[in-house]
Amino acid sequence: MPTRRPESFRFPGRGRDAVLNALADRIPYISFLGISFERHGDELTAVLAFDGKLIGNPRLPALHGGVTAAFLEVAAIIELSWTCYREDFEGTASRGESAGADAMPRLPKTIDFTVDYLRPGLPRDAYARARVNRSGRRYASVHVEAWQDSRSRLFAQATGHFLMAAPTDAPK
């Protein structure tokens, strides 16, 4: 078993969480849906806290298909934005310089998003994890999976393409 190096050896963990929280907190729609993010190292999990206003069909009851799509899209955008931020700025952070709030992650724009509804979303918390499969200078391709009771029993998955925002500190 390899010895676990303290995270602060390379990246100040508090800085990472501060950036992540600042990223999510400044988007009103993320709070409206009640989505938060849990970070373990470089792995992000989006958490959708169940609320009655997320229900589509009240007879089943089940999460609204639009909520599921939105949850997956939010998870994909934050994962992508955060991945780009780390590539752009953590080199700076590791040298002990501050990548502060003035260097906020850029938000990519959705080009297209395809959701595959595998089973109804139950009236309870949901989780999602996204994977950036292609990250180019112009666009990225992201796959995202969502589950509730069991990670191996997905209730929805999606693939989206995103236009990358121009780097804020691009060399002239």
């Binding site: 988007i27 009103p28 609204h64 298909g65 639009g66 799509a69 959701v115």
Partner: protein, 139 residues
């Protein structure tokens, strides 16, 4: 008949808690088509720098409008989305409602196919398009 369908579909859509939370309104329905609006709301902003509504809210509008178009095709006991693809052509104009028009263009015994377009009444062209397949149990 058309007004009965409109009333039934409207009461079904109004009964969806999340549609109510977003303020979705059914403008028209019938003959496999539906029209719905999503009013502008600051709680739905996805880009704080521009005030543009998050794509996720547009997804909900498109999903609900396509589902309504399926109901507009015939009496359905259940309409559940199998898959839905949304293409975003441009950002919706801030502080303007988004209107979606959907059409259910083919049905089988258990599957309905629908597509939708969304406009904001500002600028030119479409804000988004969508296409999806829906699992249906006809009443």
């Amino acid at each position: 008949m058309a007004s009965d369908l409109h009333g039934l579909a409207k009461s079904m859509i109004d009964a969806l808690p999340h549609s109510r939370a977003l303020g979705l309104k059914l403008v028209g329905i019938g003959d496999g088509t539906a029209e719905m609006t999503l009013p502008y709301d600051e709680r739905l902003i996805g880009d704080p720098e521009t005030g543009v509504i998050h794509g996720g809210a547009v997804s909900t509008l498109m999903d609900t409008c396509c589902g309504a178009a399926v109901m507009g095709h015939g009496a359905a006991a259940l309409v559940a989305t199998i898959d839905l693809r949304i293409d975003y052509m441009r950002s919706a104009a801030p502080r303007h409602a988004i209107t979606a028009r959907a059409e259910c263009y083919h049905v089988t015994r258990s599957v309905a196919f629908a597509r939708a377009t969304a406009v904001d009444g500002q600028g030119s062209g479409l804000v988004a398009t969508a296409v999806g397949a829906f699992n249906v149990e006809w009443a």
